[in-house]
């Protein structure tokens, strides 16, 4: 790792003290004078036509200030992906899942709003509903959206090489099917929105717990028919997102609508059940893999068919299925490859971006199948991964440009560290080790609206103020950006003050998704800081009597690289800057967009999907309790190529959080939905890992220095969420010899499999 002053250091988050003292303000902490409180009325049927809505009793309740239904607001759809917009803030003719929004009320306090919501009666004509994507694509299945025959709202078909010739040339061809389930993001902070309206100027301000302030602003404008320049979206602190807050929701639109109509601030806050039921979840997916291999384990050809359960609306559908497709082409080299993916509507809660976004599902299938194939043909599962490993600089079938790649090293290091040679297949029954691999983009290139901007202001007293559009949702984006600026301008962290994700003040940014913030917004900040240097350093060079490119800067001090005794401080330089009559503050501007051949869509075109790619191998050791079927994850280690970490402490935090999320995904987190009704929409019933489930963890840094990322950085937020689940299930297979093909692997499944195993053994013995 390179040695720098601020970048690469374990710097605490700049807002850590505010958070740890309770002073940090999240959306629901904000209170405005005259504020009203809102509540939504949600569908109680999975699929139905709205016959009538009676709001008279609600309107008559003292304290109620407004009631609206879908017919009272403009007939405009919203959505995060422009061409896949399919959602109304409030349903108009039809409801499509239990939890769909049908009406909204506001009142002087929360109790009154809730009482009013209960007084609204909705009469439905119930329609036949469909709850499984494989049923939904059958002829004659109920249509969730009338304009979408077959319920397939997004699909992708990619073909590389010659699949059939590849299968023909293979020594073995195996076909296996897998299923992954619904996981909820379960951010600790429930979703909230607060809007206020200035009647004189027509200005609308929305505070929202969002990952995408600029997309939200645009959608507010188009749906509520308010000019975009009159809308300001401010992201307060966000209490976790994991992709769930990439979307916008009825709360945002209704808060804004009422604020404008009533001229008073309006707040909407979702309860935990609404978060589970009516926001987003990880797409369940059916996957079938047909894979041809040589007798050594080289993958010659692979066909993957995927059906994603999208629930009632699109959300990120085209992007999700595209990512799902493109990331089966990495980290393995597969010359003959076909991916067919379908995003299918059902009458269920809506699928959306969740940490990994469409990729953990095929990763589970691929990494499971590699282990199964290795066993069937008698090769080592770790060696088989190495044999197929992608390398930097190789031509890629889809056009990925991979400048740095620590993948093969990650396989070797993780295998070594978990004790693969000594443990795999050699531990006592009930105990096992497994590995799984992955790669992830540092944000998505080749699509529109992916630029980030940054403004850095250096004041006369040396205060560095940064404006960035990046949305910090708790991962530390603001800290990373501040570190980059501090490093380049040559000041300590405490001199840098960042204001971010306020669309009224900050330059455009795409938002927090695709794990692209550090590379994209980080590069924008780097460019802005370089602009400061370009203005300031000629004055420094003059003061020091040297050339600009001889200057080193750190801790408010500038010196000549080869003669450190020749130095000058920031205050002196800023004074000199003023004396020569240059205007202060010095303002640096920067922007960055991932290099791409053309702004296009990867749904139809190939190309370099991302500015750079992270790689990782994760290894797990588990112990299966043969009495209870419970799995104890003893250890998870990660060999990780995330380039040069800007802040190793924050990278570790991302890694550790993903491992716990991966344990939950592998073993128990399951948003259960039966006939359209969610059965566990609470923290008590859903259950995600607590401190008691904490395994031993170890991170191994695979050192690469990426030429595109700022200071060599790559993504570190999402990629590590991909491999823990298959690594754990592979370890379970090693422990008890059972190959599970669906998630989560519950104690019931394990006990049933062990019972079957005993019965078969007894049968053979007879």
């Amino acid at each position: 790792m390179k040695v720098l002053n601020v970048v690469g250091q374990r710097v605490p988050m700049h807002d850590a003290a505010a958070k740890i003292t309770g002073q940090a303000q999240y959306t629901d902490d904000l209170v405005l004078p005259g504020m009203l409180f809102g509540k939504l009325v949600r569908s109680t049927v999975a699929h139905g036509r709205i016959k009538s809505i009676d709001v008279s009793k609600a309107k008559a309740l003292p304290g109620v200030k407004g009631v609206i239904t879908g017919m009272d607001i403009p007939d405009r759809v919203y959505g995060i992906v422009p061409k896949a917009k399919d959602e109304h803030a409030l349903a108009r003719e039809k409801v499509r899942y239990i939890g769909d929004e049908v009406a909204a009320v506001v009142a002087i306090d929360q109790e009154t709003a809730e009482e009013a919501a209960r007084l609204i009666t909705v009469e439905y004509e119930e329609l036949p509903a469909v709850f499984d994507p494989l049923d939904a694509i059958k002829e004659g299945a109920p249509l969730v959206h009338e304009n979408t025959p077959g319920n397939v709202s997004a699909q992708i078909h990619k073909e590389f090489g010659d699949l059939e010739a590849g299968f023909a040339a293979s020594d073995y061809v195996f076909e296996d099917s897998y299923y992954t389930h619904a996981q909820n993001h379960a951010p600790m902070e429930p979703h909230a929105a607060l809007a206020s309206y200035d009647a004189l100027n027509g200005d609308l301000t929305l505070w929202s717990g969002t990952q995408i302030p600029y997309f939200l602003k645009r959608n507010l404008s188009t749906t509520l028919v308010i000019p975009e320049q009159n809308i300001r979206v401010i992201k307060p602190k966000v209490g976790g997102g994991f992709g769930q807050k990439i979307d916008m929701f009825a709360k945002d639109f209704c808060a804004c609508w009422f604020a404008k109509e009533l001229g008073r601030p309006v707040k909407f806050l979702y309860d935990r059940e609404e978060v589970f039921q009516s926001t987003r979840q990880r797409h369940p997916m059916y996957l079938t893999l047909k894979t041809g291999v040589s007798k050594e384990g080289k993958i010659i050809a692979q066909k993957i068919t995927a059906h994603a359960d999208g629930g009632a609306y699109n959300s990120t559908a085209p992007l999700m299925i595209t990512l799902s497709c493109f990331f089966v082409m990495i980290p393995y080299k597969i010359e003959n490859l076909v991916y067919e993916g379908y995003h299918v509507y059902t009458n269920k809660p809506v699928g959306g971006a969740m940490r990994g976004h469409g990729i953990p599902q095929p990763r589970f299938a691929i990494e499971r199948q590699i282990d199964q194939i290795a066993k069937r043909i008698g090769v080592d599962a770790s060696e088989m991964r190495l044999l197929n490993a992608i390398e930097a600089g190789e031509p890629h079938p889809a056009g990925f440009i991979i400048n740095t790649c620590g993948f093969a090293d990650s396989v070797r290091e993780a295998s070594k560290a978990i004790g693969w040679a000594e443990k795999r297949g050699k531990l006592p029954f009930g105990r096992g080790v497994g590995i799984a691999c992955a790669s992830f983009p540092s944000g998505v290139a080749n699509m529109s609206h992916l630029a980030s901007g940054c403004v850095v202001q250096l004041s006369s007293e040396g205060r560095v103020s940064v404006l960035s559009g990046a949305a910090d949702i708790g991962q530390g984006a603001e800290t990373v950006i501040a570190q980059i600026v501090a490093e380049r301008v040559g000041v300590p962290m405490e001199d840098v003050h960042i204001t971010a994700a306020d669309t009224g003040l900050c330059p455009l940014d795409a938002g927090t998704f695709g794990s692209g913030v550090t590379v994209r917004a980080g590069n924008a900040a780097l460019n802005a800081a370089n602009d400061i240097r370009a203005q300031l350093f000629p004055v420094v060079a003059e003061a020091l009597g040297c050339e600009v490119d001889e200057i080193e800067a750190a801790n408010r001090l500038f010196w000549v690289r080869d003669d450190p005794d020749r130095s000058v401080g920031m205050r002196d330089i800023l004074r000199q800057y003023q004396y020569i009559d240059r205007s202060l503050p010095i303002v640096g501007r920067g922007a960055w967009v991932p290099p791409a051949d053309s702004a296009t869509t990867l749904l139809t075109n190939n190309g370099n999907l991302s500015p750079n790619y992270s790689f990782m191998t994760q290894a797990a050791e588990v112990e299966v309790d043969l009495e209870t079927g419970r799995v104890n994850v003893i250890k998870v280690l990660t060999a990780h190529d995330c380039g040069q970490p800007i802040n190793p402490m924050l990278v570790e935090g991302q890694l550790e959080g993903s491992i716990l999320g991966g344990i939950g995904y592998a073993l128990y987190e399951d948003s259960t939905c039966i006939d359209g009704q969610q059965h566990n929409p609470s923290f008590l019933d859903y259950g995600f890992p607590t401190m008691m489930e904490l395994p031993e963890m170890e991170g191994i840094h695979i050192d690469t220095d990426d030429p595109i990322g700022p200071f060599g950085a790559k993504e570190a937020g999402e990629g590590t969420q991909l491999a823990p689940a298959p690594a754990i299930v592979n370890a379970i297979a090693d422990a008890i010899g059972v190959d599970f093909d669906r998630l989560p692997v519950t104690p019931d499944m394990i006990l049933a499999a062990l019972k079957k195993q005993r019965e078969e053994a007894a049968g053979e013995a007879r």
Binding site: P12, I20, G657, S682
Partner: protein
């Protein structure tokens, strides 16, 4: 709902007069009536620990405690943990170890860990895990939280206040 009445709640040494219904929770009284918003609402079901406060020194879940139950008791919230502008050693340890990300669960963790260290200044790792298992965190994976509490327990950050 029943008749509302004025309660006097002693929070962080100060008396707050708040109008509460019989079913008003302590969490609602703190956040919405005393404007002490450091205590967080995560689930309203006593399942996540984000609303943890100390009542007569004991960590309780304010979202499933009625405000009336808190009358005459001594309530300590996250706002009462730091001494003026100074972080408590436990808070400082959380900051230094990166034991927080989004920060939404952090006040609850600080309250639970403050109670733990007051009872046992030197807990072993297993006890820390057991005692803090009622506080959920979705970001950190808990590792750094355990390490921060351990650092205080082992004296690296001074004792808990």
């Amino acid at each position: 709902m029943g008749a509302k009445r004025i309660l006097t709640l002693n929070v962080n040494g100060d008396d707050y007069e708040v109008v509460c219904a019989p079913n008003t929770t302590l969490l609602e009284a703190l956040r919405e009536k005393a404007f002490l918003t450091g205590t967080k609402r995560g689930c309203d079901l006593g399942a996540c620990g984000a609303c943890t406060v100390l009542m007569d020194g004991e960590a309780i879940l304010s979202c499933i405690t009625l405000a009336v139950e808190a009358e005459g008791r001594s309530i300590r919230t996250i706002e009462g943990v730091s001494d003026g502008g100074e972080l408590s050693p436990l808070q400082q340890a959380f900051v230094d170890h990166g034991a927080l990300q989004c920060g939404f669960c952090s006040p609850g963790f600080i309250m639970s860990a403050t109670e733990l260290l007051a009872e046992n200044p030197h807990p072993e790792r297993a006890e820390i895990q057991r005692r803090l298992a009622g506080n959920l965190c979705r970001c950190t994976g808990y590792v750094k939280i355990v390490e921060a509490v351990e650092a205080v327990a082992q004296g690296a950050e001074g004792g808990a206040r």
